[in-house]
Amino acid sequence: MKNAYESLLGGKQGAIGLLVLATLILVVFPLLLDTFRLNMVGKYLTYAFVAVGLVLCWGYGGILSLGQGIFFGVGGYCMAMFLKLEASDPESTKIQSTPGIPDFMDWNQITELPMMWQPFHSFSFALLAVIAVPTLLALIIGVAMFKRRVGDVYFSIVTQAIAAILTILIIGQQGLTGGVNGITDLKTLLGWDIRPDSSKVILYFVNAFLLLGCVLLGRFILTSKLGRLLMAMRDKEERVRFSGYDVASFKIFVFCVAAAFSAIGGAMFALQVGFMSPSFVGIVPSIEMVIFAAVGGRMSLLGAVYGTLLVSFGKTYFSESFPELWLYLMGGLFIVVVMYFPNGIAGLWETHGRKWLSRYSLGKKLFGVPEVKARVFTAKPVEKAAPRELETTP
């Protein structure tokens, strides 16, 4: 069991960190918050899936995808399509000119369920599609880009463009996707009503456990040899390639994992919030999710979750109370974090918080710096040494 303890939990420090997070999500929030707020936290936690995926592919793999919204959205849409079909049975849609199809299709003069929607009658297919479709999409993008050694900057721009294209496509194909409004009025999951408070609490816990599962899986990947290879690639790609590793395959793999995580988040979003719309697909949400990971710490899976919660809370609070101020704060936060705290909250914790807590005996016992550092989790993101300068020095 020692091995699993090390690789899944990341030793004592990792286990304590995870325990703190699990207590916060599973005990503190449900006890302190009413159902409305709890549902809101649940919504934020679905973004955390994306942020955790970004830690894997951006923080460790060095691949900055500005299109994670694509996968979040596609996963969400797959789930929403199933729920929508269940909600639009012939009985409840009998006032439509064509009963049995989703209401927005009826408004768009579509008289027959499109081919694309047919398989989503089956729940198992929908569940499969939630993971498979975004992963496949990531695989295609990844193979096309990484096998041809497209640089990281170009990759960011292309993923961003794909996110833009997908948004335009979804909005343009109103009859097929519900257009700007998205897919709304989701009611039941296999006959189980997802709207009442009791269901929302259950969904919150399902979501929380899935998220913790993703964090564990992410840890497992990072503590394995693959994780070390990813970092090596990020810092000196050529050297890894010359050592005989197929760099592209590792990049594709981690990108696909990140996509699958985002898709799970998207599906849980559709379940918890009850709708899915193109406003979670495009460039702006995609970059916002990068902010979450950046604020939390691009090198820390747990940090990403905290970052997501913090920034989302801030967004809700400020955009309710001081809508004028919010964009200034968000933009400023982004600039400051990127320029001065590239390791985010997790980095601050490593450098200051841990030391501060170590002054107290209990704090030292729990959080004190261990003699042998779990290096994978405390590694600083090694700044890319200016490539141009290095290449050209004789």
Binding site: R149, D152, V153, I168, G331, L333, T392
Partner: protein, 305 residues
């Protein structure tokens, strides 16, 4: 033969339509071709510098109308120059405060400038309001020019076209025929060596970035002749612009011109047959597909690495 002349007129006007999209795209991409293509800096706030130019033009037009109405027909030339310098000065400041500290972290530049674009958008909203504003255009730019009864060419399109040509030619001369351009290209190809031969690379960086932002400002001024300006006007075009520069092959000015032309014509031809959004989807997808097959873009400079 009636239908033939009708067809001809449609083809001319459609072609001209494509040309004006081309000019707008090229004007936007020029600044980015300098900043991204030459310097390798991803400036996500590029669109906001365009908006700065547009708002400058708007302010100057309102001021002229208010204080010296007699100058109204001529203010636009002054506005273009002012847009260039204001956007350029802002770019200079941004380079000094932000970009210069992030040259060795290209992906972080992207994120930081995205934050900057959020701040700038909100600043526009606070200063000018969320509603779109339009500059009062001089008489001579309005209306259209009709060489035959069936052909109708808007004058503002012609004006933008002329301006684009002027800007492109100037930048071309500056980059490839002037001492400054030589320094820029030397710095971008081999920074250490350039420093060794006595080029102040920091100064070159700052001036290059400022110039790119200034050109974006000019593009913004030109924009006001076509449409109204809102706080998020610039951000709408940022993806198209980046794709244009990447598609043309970074570091190649000719490539940027060619790719802007291809993208604009493809889009306007497809728009004639399909809906606007589908035309855009198809164009962008085609560009991405081609980029996947040819990641270095249409035109690439062979550099030994």
């Amino acid at each position: 033969m009636e239908w033939l002349s009708d067809f001809g007129a449609i083809a001319v006007m459609q072609g001209f339509n494509g040309l004006s999209v081309f000019c707008v795209l090229l004007l936007m991409a020029l600044g980015l071709a300098i900043i991204f293509g030459q310097m390798g800096v991803i400036n996500m706030a590029h669109g906001e510098f365009l908006t700065v130019g547009a708002y400058t033009t708007y302010v100057i037009s309102s001021l002229t109308l208010h204080y010296v109405p007699a100058m109204q027909p001529y203010y636009f030339f002054f506005a273009i120059v002012a847009s260039f310098f204001i956007a350029g000065a802002l770019g200079w400041l941004v380079e000094w405060a932000m970009i210069s500290k992030l040259y060795h972290r290209p992906l972080d530049t992207l994120l930081a400038t995205w934050g900057l674009s959020l701040v700038m958008q909100q600043a526009f909203r606070s200063i000018f309001g969320a509603r779109e504003v339009g500059a009062e255009m001089p008489e001579w730019i309005m209306g259209s020019w009709a060489p035959t009864a069936a052909v109708d060419i808007p004058k503002n399109g012609l004006f933008v076209m002329g301006l684009t040509f002027l800007c492109t030619a100037t930048i071309f001369l500056m980059l490839y025929r002037s001492r400054w351009g030589l320094q820029v290209r030397a710095t971008m190809q081999n920074r250490v060596m350039s420093r060794a031969v006595g080029i102040n690379t920091k100064k070159v960086d700052r001036m290059t970035f400022a110039l790119g932002c200034g050109v974006a400002g000019v593009a913004g001024a030109a924009f006001t002749t076509i449409g109204s300006t809102g706080p998020t006007a610039g951000s709408l075009y940022i993806v198209d612009t980046f794709l244009t520069v990447v598609f043309g092959g970074a570091a190649s000015l000719v490539g940027t011109i060619a790719s802007a032309f291809t993208i604009a014509q493809a889009q306007s031809i497809m728009e004639f047959f399909l809906s606007g959004s589908m035309a855009k989807v198809l164009t962008l997808s085609a560009v991405i597909l081609i980029l996947m097959l040819r990641p270095q873009g249409l035109f690439s400079i062979k550099v030994r690495k």
